[in-house]
Structure formats: structure tokens, C-alpha cells
Symmetry: C2
Subunit: 220 residues, 2 copies
């Protein structure tokens, strides 16, 4: 079994590879993500490479192998099932569960994970709208686009918040926004790089492009 540290590196690598156009991660970002020095990250990459969890050439990009990818998906599955449990059953705050799941994700056995998943009714997404991979590692991401790309008068439904930052999640929730909530885009102002949206029975809220880029929606 991969150690907690290895699982954290693999999960970070997965995310970095996703968001990089080349599909490869770099040591500097990885180190930053995990709050370790570049040297530490380099030596871990060497170990992961030896264990065939990543493919990496010196001074070049890092990519997960199939084995590494499966571990990343397993950890994400545990993380998201736990978040769902914490919010739905234990009524923890939406904004707090990420940190909690960050530790618990390493302590769940396959048996407990499955029971928990079953108890929750096999949820397909977590409280933030992040898709939950199934036990085999299949992820089905719902089609969506950033709210920032929407036009005035569009009617959309929030499907996902792509930021685990507590303050941001707090702000989003306080504005009445959550996956499943319907919005109307009232106006778009490219000059001020912001847009005004309104939930079903809520006040109009102004969002910067940056904030709106982290809210994924589908047209209804």
C-alpha cells in the first residue's frame, strides 16, 4: 500500500497534469502544492519513478503511469465519498470538509469505503459537484462551462465549484450558490471583468470573471 505521503504526491500530480496543457507536471508547482522544497519533491519523484507510479526524465515533465493514475482516482474517490458523508450525514460545513477529508482519505479500507458509499446511496458527485470515480476508476464528468463564459439573460444550473478554498466556498454558499441551484445571468460587463447573476429567490450578486470562472454551470 502507498503511504499517506505518496498518496498526497500522486493526487497532487494528477491535478497538476490535468490542468497543464502538456499533460505533464513540474517539480516547482508540485513542491509548492505540497509545501515542501523543490529538492524534496525531486527526490520523491525519483522514488515514485522507481516504483513505476510516474514516468519522469531529468529536467523534463512528470506524468502518472496507469498504476499511478489508479491510485490518484482511488484517493479522490475516498476523498469525495468522505466529503459527501461529512456534509450529508454529520452536517459539517461545506467549507470545512475539504481539510477534514484530506486526512481521512488515507485511513479508509476498501470495505469501509464501500459500506459508506452504499450507505450514501452511491452518490455520483460530492458536495462541491466534483464527480466521484467508481470503484474501477471510471469518472463521468457532467458537461458544463464556466459561468464566466455565459451571456446576459442565460438561464443556467450550477453543477460544480472548482475551488476548495474555505473563504471562497464560504462566499459562494453565503451568496446562495451550490450545485443544483438555478441562476439567471442578468448582465455581463467585460470592461469591469464582472457579471451580475441572480438565484431563483435571491438578491443579485456581482461576481468577478475570476470567481465566475470557478463556477461551472450547464444551460437549462
Amino acid at each position: 500500500m502507498a503511504t499517506e505521503t505518496v498518496e498526497n504526491y500522486i493526487k497532487a500530480l494528477y491535478a497538476l497534469c490535468r490542468e497543464s496543457p502538456s499533460g505533464e507536471a513540474g517539480v516547482a508547482r508540485l513542491a509548492q502544492e505540497l509545501s515542501v522544497t523543490k529538492g524534496t519533491a525531486t527526490s520523491m519523484i525519483k522514488r515514485l519513478s522507481l516504483a513505476r507510479l510516474v514516468k519522469a526524465e531529468p529536467y523534463s515533465g512528470i506524468a502518472l503511469t496507469a498504476k499511478g493514475n489508479k491510485i490518484a482516482l482511488d484517493v479522490m474517490r475516498r476523498h469525495r465519498v468522505i466529503e459527501t458523508f461529512l456534509v450529508r450525514i454529520l452536517k459539517l460545513d461545506w467549507a470545512d470538509v475539504h481539510e477534514e477529508a484530506e486526512r481521512l482519505e488515507h485511513a479508509l479500507s476498501p470495505r469501509i469505503l464501500d459500506r459508506l458509499d452504499h450507505f450514501l446511496g452511491r452518490p455520483s458527485t460530492d458536495p462541491h459537484g466534483d464527480p466521484i470515480p467508481d470503484a474501477a476508476g471510471n469518472v463521468s464528468e457532467a458537461r458544463s462551462k464556466p459561468l464566466a463564459k455565459c451571456r446576459a439573460r442565460e438561464r443556467v444550473c450550477i453543477v460544480r465549484i472548482k475551488d476548495q478554498n474555505r473563504a471562497f466556498l464560504k462566499f459562494v454558499a453565503d451568496s446562495g450558490f451550490m450545485p443544483g441551484v438555478n441562476l439567471v445571468v442578468q448582465s455581463v460587463s467585460p470592461q469591469s471583468a464582472s457579471l451580475v447573476v441572480r438565484a431563483a429567490r435571491g438578491e443579485p450578486v456581482t461576481l468577478s470573471q475570476i470567481a465566475a470562472a470557478k463556477i461551472l454551470v450547464k444551460v437549462i
Copy 2:
């Protein structure tokens, strides 16, 4: 925060001190309990001593300090709340939950522990009848005696099974015995070091003194 390893040592020390007449633990038993060598245990004791979690003189007994005691009770609280959750909510087998809780007990934050405890209705004992310390570290052990000490025709109620061994728990459960179950002692045979007991609507079961010593009961 104490590491997972330290928590396991402290918890083992707590149990060993309980069951020793002198109230002190020894390195050999500790090492055996944790499946490490005596040398490893010795060096850990030195570290725990430096951290003021135990009091220990070379070649003499080991005792927990107040600080160490509180950690032991915290870990036991987490362990038992988790076991209760696993059995009551996730429907895991009585005999399996100990191993699972052994890992999870190190990953629960105070916040999650409290929510879980609240969700379960602040249980006072775990599925094996072990008392759950409260958040302040108070334990209230129900008055009880070993089934092995009972006389023929006594009517008793099982309050606790003092053995986490899977095979033993399996046997006990298969015999229909659990905390809360009422028993009648049908006969006691000192010669064969065994006794025959019967649950309300169950077959008579023969138990060795050794097995009966691990089943705590109260007279009804």
C-alpha cells in the same frame, strides 16, 4: 499532536498498566503487543519519557503521566465511537470493527469526533460493551463480574466482552451472546473448568473458564 505510532504505544501502555497489579508496564510485553523488537520499544520509551508522556527509570517499570493518560483516553474514545458507528450505521461485522478502528482512530479531528458522537446519540459503551470515555476523559465502568465467577442457576446480563480477537468475537456472537443479552447459568463444573449457560431463547452453550472469564456480566 502525537503521531500515530506514539498514540499506539500510549494506548498499549494504558492497557498494560491496567492489567498489571503494580500498575506499571514492561518493555517486553509492550514490544510484543506492538509487534516490534524490545530495542525498538526501549528507544520509544526514552522518547516518550523525554516528551513527559511516561515516567520510566532504566530497568524498572513504565507508567503513564497525566498527559500520557489523557492521550490514551482520547484515543480510546475515538476508537470506541468509531466502532459504534461502524456496527450501528455501516452494519459492519462485530468481529471486524476492531481492526478497522485501529487505523481510523488516528485520523479523526475533535470536530468530527464530536459530530459522530452526537449523531450516534452520545453512546456510553461501544458494541463490545467497552465504556466510551467522555471528551474530558471520564470513564464510567459499569459494575460487573466475570461470567466465570458465577454460580449455577444465577441469572445475569452480559455487559462486556473483554477480548477483541476476531475468532473469539465470532464464536461469542454465533452463540447468541452480546452485551444486553440475558443468560442463565445452568451448571458449573470446576473439574472440567467449564460451565453451561443458556440465553433466553437459545441452545445451552458450554464455555471454558478461560472464555467465561472474558465475558463480564451483571446479576439481574
